[in-house]
Symmetry: C2
Subunit: 365 residues, 2 copies
Amino acid sequence: MKLTRVLPLMACLLLAACGGGESADEASVQVEKAKTYQWKLVTTWPKNYPGLGMAAENFAVMVDKMSAGRLKVKVYGATQLVPALEVFDAVSQGTAEMGHGAAYYWKGKTPTSPLFTSVPFGLNAQEMNGWLHYGGGMELWRELYEPFNLVPLAAGNTGVQMAGWFNREINSLEDLKGLKMRIPGLGGEVMSRVGVEAVNIPGGELYTSMQTGVIDATEWVGPYNDLAFGFHQVAKYYYYPGWHEPGPTLELIVNKPAYESLPADLQAIVEAAARAVNQDMLDDYTARNNAALNELVNTHGVELRQLPDDVLAELNRVTDQVLDEIAESDPMFKKVYASQKAFKTEAMQYHKISEEAYYRARELK
Amino acid sequence: MKLTRVLPLMACLLLAACGGGESADEASVQVEKAKTYQWKLVTTWPKNYPGLGMAAENFAVMVDKMSAGRLKVKVYGATQLVPALEVFDAVSQGTAEMGHGAAYYWKGKTPTSPLFTSVPFGLNAQEMNGWLHYGGGMELWRELYEPFNLVPLAAGNTGVQMAGWFNREINSLEDLKGLKMRIPGLGGEVMSRVGVEAVNIPGGELYTSMQTGVIDATEWVGPYNDLAFGFHQVAKYYYYPGWHEPGPTLELIVNKPAYESLPADLQAIVEAAARAVNQDMLDDYTARNNAALNELVNTHGVELRQLPDDVLAELNRVTDQVLDEIAESDPMFKKVYASQKAFKTEAMQYHKISEEAYYRARELK
């Protein structure tokens, strides 16, 4: 750079950075702001996986724009840097500054984590967001992840999922007995108590497992993601509603020292971008699920079925037993579950006369 | 500032601003970034009005933090700078850089604007967000506001509202005949066609109008806001569901030249903050409506009633007529309504087996 260009620029920069009566301290704050950060974000999803995988990608783009390139976040799909189920440890230890996934994957670390994704017959997307941001949920989540050196942020929701793909009809509780189904987590625990042989199989192996008869049924997400996996080629019946995952919240986790090393403006940018993608993923699923459902039903001849009322009622009762038992064995689970259950009772009462009554009213003509 | 402190600082600033091989142009971009903006944001709500009025306040705080004070937004309640119903013109003309309100207030400017807030028997909050962000809605909204020099952003939602406060029971369509009700907009037009004398009265005059019998019924928002207004003191019956406003979207509007004068990072910050408050308001209402409902019913003895099915069905049929008539008279309305209606048909199909089926399943035990 030529000196003739440097000098006016120096004056100009001083004017901008120091202002009229600013101190050197204030000026050094300006310099600090020009510092750039290169972060790694590891995820539990295949790179660019529709819906679930796009939150981290969108987050990185937003943060880059808002920070004018001062915070660059590079997104890694599962196994690109660490395997999916090592995301929590990688961020906890600082191997990556951030992670995107779902809290219920970490129930081996703490039995309370599933309460921050979704529990059977629990809060739907709108209610989870209300509980997290205005019902004390987020404070509890921070408390839970604090010992792991992590700051959690809500970052996406699929809405109510589907109950899953079945190779035989479910007309009664009897039909569940002996059924071999891929259904992990709390839903699997509940299913096993009504006679299902509940197993966990990675997403990538589900198609073949159904095709070869290793399993009789599997849940995954909903039409948007399920269509792409081709489950309609290996199962005849598609059951609803997704009682076991009524509005799973996805999470961004941030390594705490990394988060604290950011200046306040970049911290605020990270939080706002997470909040934005939290809603954005639900918008994406809301817009795309039905077109995929139409294709499954009308093009591929999938038979859509509702789980019978007595089956749902029994699953609901067993869910209460399972959650109460975990609460008795773990004080933190007990505390978080009490908060979430109280919120659910309130939300159910109001949503019965608002959202639910409205869905029904809209069909009257 | 002493020269001994200035010199290392100058070097330091140059390092930060110019980097290794950056040009003077890039450095001047850095200087541009240090420029600060003082914006005015006028709203259609009383200052700090619970729920509705907090979106603008929260937006301003977020933008301040994310921009490290480079974009300061001062929020004015209704009448503090301009009256509520002059917000659109004030931002269009640049008297204020931004405004917060609801698009349906501007139907005198364009009959299409209510489609971006809420229409009777239309999209709920989750569906509006899906349509706006992944269904082409936002592009149409920008097209609609372009001639007014405005950039619209979705910025809040109350969820499904209540049908309103009535001083007599509604058991049939006959009971609506001759009823004098405060219900503005499209809901009012529909009501007038089934025999209601629909009027519009500002919020601040509603309590006295009900008390003195000037009107027999009024709608407002939902329990959270209605309790504070004290409507339970002047009406006995509280009806649901809010068929006329099933998920009103609030808006932030930005003066287009002001928006374009911002550097790209501040534009991104404005957009992300709007997206964040868009969800935040719904979280607030979701968390607070039921406690207010409990107080209305259990402490104040309000009688909660559902509008009869045949009344809802007739209102639904009349709504279709009203919307079709407006579509015939205005090409832009026709275009936007066609897009929204197609999205509604899809969303209704999927939500029937997801959100709606789940609300029902959760009550089975």
